[in-house]
Assembly symmetry: D2
Homo-oligomer: 307 residues x 4
Amino acid sequence: MTPGLAELARKVSNWGRWGADDERGTINFITPEVVQRAARCVRRGDVFSLGLEFGPDGPQFGQAGRVNPLHIMTSTSNQMTPDPAGLRYADDVVVMPLQCATQWDSLAHVFYGGQLYNGHSAATLTSSGAARNGIDKMANGIISRGVLLDIARLRGVEAMGPGEVIGPADLEAAERAQGVRAERGDVLLLRTGYMRVFTVYRDRVVYMKQMPGLGVACVEWLHAREVAAVASDTSMVEVWPPEDPAQLFPLHGLCIRDVGLTLGEMFDLEALAADCAADGVWECLFTAPPLRVTGGVGSPLNPLAVK
Amino acid sequence: MTPGLAELARKVSNWGRWGADDERGTINFITPEVVQRAARCVRRGDVFSLGLEFGPDGPQFGQAGRVNPLHIMTSTSNQMTPDPAGLRYADDVVVMPLQCATQWDSLAHVFYGGQLYNGHSAATLTSSGAARNGIDKMANGIISRGVLLDIARLRGVEAMGPGEVIGPADLEAAERAQGVRAERGDVLLLRTGYMRVFTVYRDRVVYMKQMPGLGVACVEWLHAREVAAVASDTSMVEVWPPEDPAQLFPLHGLCIRDVGLTLGEMFDLEALAADCAADGVWECLFTAPPLRVTGGVGSPLNPLAVK
Amino acid sequence: MTPGLAELARKVSNWGRWGADDERGTINFITPEVVQRAARCVRRGDVFSLGLEFGPDGPQFGQAGRVNPLHIMTSTSNQMTPDPAGLRYADDVVVMPLQCATQWDSLAHVFYGGQLYNGHSAATLTSSGAARNGIDKMANGIISRGVLLDIARLRGVEAMGPGEVIGPADLEAAERAQGVRAERGDVLLLRTGYMRVFTVYRDRVVYMKQMPGLGVACVEWLHAREVAAVASDTSMVEVWPPEDPAQLFPLHGLCIRDVGLTLGEMFDLEALAADCAADGVWECLFTAPPLRVTGGVGSPLNPLAVK
Amino acid sequence: MTPGLAELARKVSNWGRWGADDERGTINFITPEVVQRAARCVRRGDVFSLGLEFGPDGPQFGQAGRVNPLHIMTSTSNQMTPDPAGLRYADDVVVMPLQCATQWDSLAHVFYGGQLYNGHSAATLTSSGAARNGIDKMANGIISRGVLLDIARLRGVEAMGPGEVIGPADLEAAERAQGVRAERGDVLLLRTGYMRVFTVYRDRVVYMKQMPGLGVACVEWLHAREVAAVASDTSMVEVWPPEDPAQLFPLHGLCIRDVGLTLGEMFDLEALAADCAADGVWECLFTAPPLRVTGGVGSPLNPLAVK
């Protein structure tokens, strides 16, 4: 950490804010009132899946040990009864990195200085899993109001390019242009259009290796706005290559470890964004409950947006 | 199939109802209007997770090849930067049957006569997965109104016993007692209290090997009410040992293959039921999007109920 | 089964030959005397690995649910001591079909008529594995004399072509040309050269989908010679497409289920064959102990030949 | 490293001995002459498996993320032909740590100071596996003469106890008592009897958590004798708890990283030792080829001894 980042870390820290034992971070902003407001966003009853498929054609190409899911059929036609003409069943097993496609990071995913979010010791991460800050600690969430900010649209491009930085001014310009405002407890959905590199142009390597995204200046903005989570259509939410080659992954470090703000990655926002552009309504009921994997560091997801 | 069941199958069949290509069955009942109604069930904004944890202490004990999840940590403290004092990350992989704890069956899970729901050929089930009726075909769902019927409460017991049959009269008695009615597009949540055998008494073998549940007479009732799905706190929804030893798993066969009605299994309804008993409101916004596993026969879940 | 094959099955059956409980079949031919003879084949002390690598570039392309191994690093640099400058270790996990590259079939791999080799019921195959005839029953083997018959060399080709049939006359012609004879207890190593399609031309699909190999007439020959096992450089040992489209996989059915003769597949015989051609000695000490996977249907291998 | 150990490391180092690129270490001692001598150890032709079973009842209990193999049946009765009365097959998949039962460590398993055996950088260990010193580099081995030293027998006990140290004097006393001598290229098989804690008394936790074994003074002895490998009936070969609490795992560090000497763990030597005690012959042909797992850090095994 440079002195600058260390200072920023202190500034945005939420450690202790919800008690010394807290393992949920900014998810705590999702109060019953926030959920009520979220439910009121359902006007037409239209549902959008923001999840990628979990299958052999997923975005992984082996980087950092991440692979696409291996789906093993353990039965295609086993008999359920002694009668061969009777009922039969199919069954299956999956082998997958918990963060191989659309997913939440848990607050145990990234850390430094021997401490996870809220000061929990990094020694709580063992081969048995994350004893603290695991994804299982977010059991009742994440359901809230989703606010989509479409930065690609703001810039008038189909998709932003790799290394293109989004700053607080962009976020606020999008809010103004769209007539919406990210508030306490909201889940911020951030569209760069870069998902199209994978879904339309089918280049998983380019999609995974570099991307547009949030710059480090947004950490204070996210902290000030008190959003519950931020999710984007890239694999890291933050920009890559990084703004400062001497500071790698500053958003991952500061958001997850200091703010206690979870990141949602590889959300497919294309259909939702098109719908929002058409009706001018940029908020939705957002529901993306993580699997309760005991000690899990992340969770695969099928997030839904309802308008 | 006995002649009686074959006759019943014809009677409750929804094949062709949503076109020859349909792979979603009764999920089709969840129209935008149904979703609007569901959203209006959010009054207080309180959220309940209905999911079990996915971990080594799950309900499986090896029956039929199903095991509890194997959670493998691939990193507990790998460096993200060249600096050992810099950011570090944890990462993980899971190996699990897709139906090892709280889960949806897909409409490819059970079949007979060489045909899946809607007449799709059983030959579409291959080692590559379910080409038709897979869980990936339910991408935009399942979000609807949840209606909880608490049969254990109706009978004045903590938990119903193994082999105890629930009939249409029980369902309607519960509706009357609770002042609620399962309607088109609703997800029926059926509490037997039997989950406590696992969660309280920690006997996974008894929990998995026998159970109370729906009798075959309920198939017509579910079909007539046009519910979108039915989920229970047991591992099979239907009663076991079966009513007729010559007819094994009749509900699985008829609901999944003929009605096109998906089953949700091992939903933990205890906290939700207690809340409903306390405030007398037995409906909720229910959201349980399956993972989009390509060709998956089922999906692990963390279903949420919001009141 | 056509009547012809059924008659052949009766003729070559070894059921009961080693007692009603036998689960090892022709491996029983490997007596201590045979092992002594095998050891005497070591003249120079040169060792040849006949195994393919188990890795992402293996021969599988997803056919019949078989995939190449997924190798997961669970540690690349974990500390073994409290001192960061002290010992560190790497560790790993593999996920793989037991028959994904060089391997033995067990006598539980193929069956018909509800019975495995020696009359054991097919019902002994459950989701817990093969209770009878599993690969774990071959714990002390397979070590014997290896006799290499090079049919590609006999025919003067680099590699035989797909669908090219090897008959008993070819085997005997190769024996005469090479001055060697497969006898009781030997492991027959059969070279077609077709392995080069995978190892040299890198076409895994062509390599796996069709191949030269033994014709059905060889079953009696193998039975009469009382070899302990037969292994080849193709993925099935037998020819494909088959000689008779109405009889698929006759060698798998007859050898494994009736003769009790295990098949070794995807053995890389190139270096060994070149050496044998150079020195004119076509026998070796052959050692290929299967992993003792409890109830395993097959086993991955690294077979060694020593001359 | 204490200064004493660092000095010892320099003394026993084989770095550069077989060239700067060497990745095989003391396996290089297995020359053709050594293999010839090994083959001459086959007198009666009796074969002993030294491998444990790979299954759910294996020795692992979750320590350090190691679990027993998960064996998944992907077919118990799938049709191989269109005819339901025709051939059927069973097939399976295994998920397992490569070091979960009887196994070889590779020379990439343990390291310090940023360097593996022979000076290869620890940075060659990535999520893709071990690019240097992996188990795949031992493809042609390990086949050699096995020399069994039975320390439990020497001490007149059924099994040595946890923490009991074996020193060079013990090894030489056993050699004298047994009339055998470990020489260049031999594989030293070291019996403590402690395997019985697992195989007879079925206590996997005691078996894995502490054990008798080699003391640090044996490193020089092993280096001087130029054995190719050393294998024992415990999970670590070296004694635990350690001789000096300030020096954890000194044998793993020095043997694997400095000597380039691979360790074989959890070898079941009971039947072989009983046979040797009976006939007074303590040498055998030893064959234990590792699976060629690309970049593997270790390999599961079924080692054979032939007398």
